[in-house]
């Protein structure tokens, strides 16, 4: 499908085609300036999206917030797949104005890719910190690719901080701290979604995101061993 680029938005169109002929389509539009999800007003908010329903540990939102913003963003897709099995095979096509991606995969893998977008574009104070990554969203990314995107996005942010005369975090210490809180949100969200689903596709999609988030501090503390060798050309020159 041809999507016309609109400079005011960032668009993704996810199409899940199943072996039984079922097709489910999700069109995501983000505000290009803020990278927030552009939602229709008055979207239905099921009970499980209330902040009090299995809240995340150390949730920074106060009692004035009735709904969890991440859960509200996820409500449509979670409802759509609440009785789906994680390992069901599907062909996922992701269309953007620039290019199209396609993968024959499991539903949990396809869902984890789209859920990642919804989670960081919701105005959750924790997940917001990952929002710049969504502009460079890579569907079906491997842990290694996500690690590279995570670190490079963060370091770009630190460079911009430095240019503004502020103190950058080149050691990635704050990124480690950030991912510890992201893990808490992923964990809380998996409990919430598990209680809103009949089968395991939705929850396993969040678990995939959690497994990566939980490993980020480890990757960093181990000197990014998994991707270090790709940068030999730089490190060898220096030494």
């Amino acid at each position: 499908m041809d999507q016309k680029a609109n400079p005011e938005t960032v668009q993704f169109k996810y199409t899940f085609a199943f072996e039984n002929g079922d097709v489910k389509v999700f069109e995501i539009t983000l505000n290009a300036a803020t990278l927030e999800l552009v939602q229709e007003k008055d979207i239905p908010k099921p009970d499980w999206t209330k902040l009090s329903f299995y809240p995340c540990e150390h949730c920074p939102l106060g009692p004035h917030s009735e709904y969890c913003p991440v859960a509200v963003n996820l409500s449509q897709i979670v409802t759509e797949f609440k009785d789906s099995v994680s390992h069901e095979r599907t062909r996922v096509t992701v269309e953007t104005p620039e290019r199209t991606y396609m993968k024959e995969t499991t539903l949990q893998k396809g869902l984890s890719s789209i859920i990642g977008i919804y989670m960081v574009t919701s105005n959750c104070p924790v997940m917001d910190k990952l929002r710049p990554m969504v502009r460079f969203h890579l569907p079906f990314a491997t842990p290694t690719e996500t690690l590279f995107r995570t670190v490079s996005t963060y370091l770009t942010g630190q460079f911009l901080l430095m240019r503004d005369g502020k103190k950058p975090d080149w050691d990635l210490d704050k990124l480690v701290e950030l991912y510890k809180t992201v893990s808490a949100v992923n964990k809380g969200m998996s409990r919430r979604i598990s209680n809103a689903s009949i089968k395991d596709a939705n929850v396993n999609a969040v678990i995939i995101l959690h497994s990566f988030g939980d490993a980020v501090p480890y990757f960093i503390e181990n000197g990014l061993d998994e991707i270090k060798h790709f940068f030999d050309i730089y490190t060898k020159d220096i030494h």
Binding site: V85, S86, H87, T106, Q108, K109, T142, P143, S183, N186, K187, S190, S194, S197, K199, D200, V203, N204, V206, I207, I208, H210, S211, F212, D214, A215, Y218, N222, E226
Partner: protein, 364 residues
């Protein structure tokens, strides 16, 4: 030596992150993407603990758990699931899992649970090994006196200590037959305990398969004739030589053939097929020699098929009472075939008969 852990999950990114984190915690880690692949990995070497996802394609976690608990009693299992369900947790623990954890789980907690399970396993294993050594000695001690009783009875029947009446000879023969059965059973117990304690040495030599198969069949031709059973042989002639332990594989052949004769009705047919086949293992094809012994006896009920090679099972209910004597022989056969890197299995239909098959890899 590092503890060996097998991570079984259908999601590659979960397998990868779990592998990396467990390796960092000083474990030797292997991975499998479903139950079938997990069983192939287990067959190739000892695994101390399996981290087993529940919801997977092909063979799911619950079925895999049953197979691992039955075939690898020294391997501990921790179930991992994204979808907590109390009844599934109970089912897993009943089937032999040591723990049931709900994902997402923090690595520090997972590693703590893994270490605790392995510590408990080490103590339990030491106790069981002691128990097995004791049992092995006990059965050896039993075998000596039983053999003496058997030879004494033989001595008396032959009249070497004076004439015996016809009635006395009949009673002595009955006593001799019972003693022979006890000796056979005690020898099986010794074999089984030695396999379980890892004390059996397989002495492989390159042997000619067609000659071996003909020799085995010749032993049973007379027995079959006595029961008016027709023996049909189909032994391929151009089979490659295979390295195997003659006595041990002969034991497997005898165990299966004894059953076939025992369960075949008078006038029945037993077919023996020996051929070369390509078997698929972990996506790779390998050549094997497959022995199939088919009878048209009473057959085995479908729910009892998975239990046939299990020493702990109840006696099979589909067998007549006087035929319930071969359980250990098949359990030992499984140990022998697997020690050669092969497989043993049975296909059966009640009322139509059973086909027992075992394979030996051409390159072992």
């Amino acid at each position: 030596m590092k503890d060996k852990i097998l991570v079984v999950d259908d999601e590659d990114s979960l397998r990868m992150t779990l592998k990396l984190r467990l390796q960092a915690a000083d474990f030797d880690v292997q991975v499998a993407q479903d139950g079938e692949e997990a069983l192939e990995v287990l067959k190739k070497g000892s695994i101390d603990l399996v981290l087993l996802d529940i919801n997977m394609p092909k063979m799911d976690g619950i079925e895999t758990l049953g197979n691992v608990a039955r075939d690898y009693p020294w391997t501990e299992i921790i179930m991992l699931t994204g979808f907590a369900d109390f009844s599934t947790a109970i089912e897993c623990l009943k089937k032999g899992a040591k723990d049931y954890l709900v994902k997402p789980i923090e690595m520090t907690e997972l590693i703590t649970r893994v270490r605790a399970t392995l510590r408990a396993k080490t103590s339990e294993r030491a106790f069981k090994e002691l128990q097995q050594r004791y049992m092995s000695t006990f059965f050896h001690d039993l075998l000596g006196p039983l053999t003496t009783v058997d030879s004494t009875v033989e001595h008396l029947i032959e009249g070497k200590s004076g004439m015996v009446s016809k009635e006395q000879a009949l009673l002595l023969r009955y006593a001799g037959e019972l003693t022979d059965k006890m000796i056979q059973r005690v020898k099986e117990m010794i074999d089984l305990s030695q396999f379980e304690a890892g004390l059996v040495v397989i002495e492989r030599k390159p042997l000619d398969i067609p000659i071996f198969a003909e020799m085995m069949c010749a032993r049973y031709e007379i027995l079959a004739k006595a029961k008016d059973i027709q023996l049909v042989k189909k032994i391929d002639k151009d089979l490659p030589a295979v390295n195997f332990d003659f006595d041990k594989i002969a034991q497997v052949f005898n165990n299966i053939f004894d059953n076939a004769i025992k369960y075949s009705l008078r006038g029945g047919i037993i077919s023996i097929t020996v051929s070369k086949k390509l078997e698929e293992e972990l996506g790779q094809k390998k050549e094997s020699i497959v022995f199939s012994i088919k009878d048209n006896g009473i057959g085995i009920r479908p729910d009892e098929l998975p239990l046939v090679f299990n020493k702990y099972k109840e006696q099979l209910t589909s067998k007549p009472a006087d035929l319930k004597t071969t359980v250990l022989g098949l359990a030992i056969s499984r140990h022998i075939v697997e020690a050669h890197g092969g497989k043993i299995w049975v296909d059966s239909e009640v009322g139509k008969g059973s086909t027992f098959n075992f394979s030996l890899p051409v390159k072992s």
